[in-house]
Symmetry: C2
Amino acid sequence: MTREEAQALDAADPLARFADAFALPEGVIYLDGNSLGPPPLSAHARLAEAARAEWGEGLIRSWNTAGWIDAPLRVGGKIARLVGAGPHEVAVADSTSVNLFKLAAGALSLRSGRTTILSETGNFPTDLYTLGGLAALLGERARLRAVAPEEIVAAIDEDTAVVVLTHIHYKSARRWDMAAITAAAHAKGALVLWDLCHSVGAVAVDLNGVNADLAVGCSYKYLNGGPGAPAFLFVAERHQGAIRSPLTGWMGHAAPFAFEDAYRPAADIRAQITGTPPILALAALEAGVDLQLEADAARVEAKGRALTDLFIGEVEARCTDPALVLASPRDAAQRGLHVSFAHPQGYALVQALIARGVIGDFRAPDIARFGFSPLFLSFADAWDAAAALCDVLHSRTWDSPQFRARAAVT
Amino acid sequence: MTREEAQALDAADPLARFADAFALPEGVIYLDGNSLGPPPLSAHARLAEAARAEWGEGLIRSWNTAGWIDAPLRVGGKIARLVGAGPHEVAVADSTSVNLFKLAAGALSLRSGRTTILSETGNFPTDLYTLGGLAALLGERARLRAVAPEEIVAAIDEDTAVVVLTHIHYKSARRWDMAAITAAAHAKGALVLWDLCHSVGAVAVDLNGVNADLAVGCSYKYLNGGPGAPAFLFVAERHQGAIRSPLTGWMGHAAPFAFEDAYRPAADIRAQITGTPPILALAALEAGVDLQLEADAARVEAKGRALTDLFIGEVEARCTDPALVLASPRDAAQRGLHVSFAHPQGYALVQALIARGVIGDFRAPDIARFGFSPLFLSFADAWDAAAALCDVLHSRTWDSPQFRARAAVT
């Protein structure tokens, strides 16, 4: 493909106008929206309004007058539309890690007598760590069993309370068949808890369409919600009355401002909210979610597949370094919106690319990872990024001490 | 006291200049800084910098270049100076509720074999709810025992793993003797977990001076950190290697960016950090903490005592309604920086005061609560607030349907 052909794709792209909603730095091709999305311009305005008018002028009154108390469910209800959930099935709260803990414990409460939490080796670390921590806390009443991805279905048995999988793998972008796994788990009486961190805002997810039970996800990737933005959680309506949260903070009480000594859980999704909602972070996040809702979800995924196909095609057509190996599924239908290439010098390679404005990231031990957020990236960006990657490889600019020195966050 | 005498106190107040660091709305006397502190002007600037320069320009690079990854410990280290802790004993993370869960479970891990979590009836609800939720999760390995405050010391026994108390009571402002309770608990081999929500930034706290074990606190009250600002936690250095967090998120791993399957906890306070740090909220919070550190902590408490003494004195001298009864300790040394009056029409009374710009809050069933943040309040404010309260009572302006109608957040 020529650069002109890529530009022609941009001219025909119905999502092209969304790039104007961001102001990325001059000279940057940002391929790390899958780790931290950039701020929509509207997020700055929304954040300033929340800080100056709501916090500064409204003060404590804003809990009522600015709708602060409803923010976790209001923003959750908007995220619900992005993942095929009902408006009262999603809440914004805590971090992905804390939500994983809550819902995995909740799944055990729904499947009393079963002890196995099943997950895959190589899952995103916090998933395995959090599930392992829960199992350690519960002693004989729970165990974490992690098996290779190809063994998951066979490993689901009558002791399995919940299967916890990340829909799109953080490293390879490999994508689980949500409907098939959910059906396999339900056939054995088990629940499924989906981690949607790399899915929401990227690919079409239809939680109720696949009869999903539980899900969590983060909002600072494709939703562009801000660094460390609060996470969300989904509990299918049919489970809401029965599921028990282990984190019974006051915001999950049926009547938090009655200040009762005894805990009475809210009967709905609010039972999964723990502490006081993070209002400033929610304001920035809401701007990102609102922007995402303006785009057609099917078009977002289709553009993302096309961007990643273009990138893979150009890299493989142009780069002659045999050490560079595609580490993501080749079939776009089998992956999410990032592309990983393995290379023995993956870390230095990524740093050299960042130095010339092409920002991806590295995942140990050898993965150079490039995310293609459809809202702000163009086909020309994908073409330019492929050209830059091949140029850095061919010119060996990565082979320098400045690019080999490891930073705290990789 | 005359208003001129109150103004003379302001003229001699070494903290008076701090009011210029805030911009409270015209005509407002803000007596709810104990629930939500107002924004320091510096918080707006800091928040905009974090959003525009760090998030918008630095993008993912800011985890390293803007010090994001260190923010929980950097801000925690600053809060440590306000509570008599060492710089590596405090981290900012999660909410107070989640931190209570983590440290109460951690206390059980340090006192293996003991099963009792001891607290007081009437404690702030989230404390009782969270501890009860933990006990319910652990089954026979833990139980929450809540006794009346005067029975706490006698109730500490050989089965007590941890005593969990709120240093300053959210409703009455009654203050526990931290040194005495800690010594009593240690004498029985138990730990103490202090909730410092109404203490930090208000009264002098010396955690290491009293040989404290564990503490949590929130940052949106006297620290003026913003609505739903992240909470903090303290683990005494001597416990850091041994305590086990139940919430083993990736940010508590010894090497989070090694992306290992197996959890290895950090050996220090970082083991208590769970998910990705909330950077925007941390930026606003850091401005509030920095401002607090400019003020001498002993002077802050002394001014707060004087403000509350003035308010109580004037209210009792001027208000002739016999139904208004002081619900806080009369001795300033026995209370924090808020004052509660019980009145059968407490809710409507507070609403009528808010309507004329004197903003306090209501706590069920009958408490009108007024907080005296020393950084932005003057003695004239306290005098005016007392006059307004008595005027509302004498004129019965509270006796109106508009003031009796309950809002979602009281």
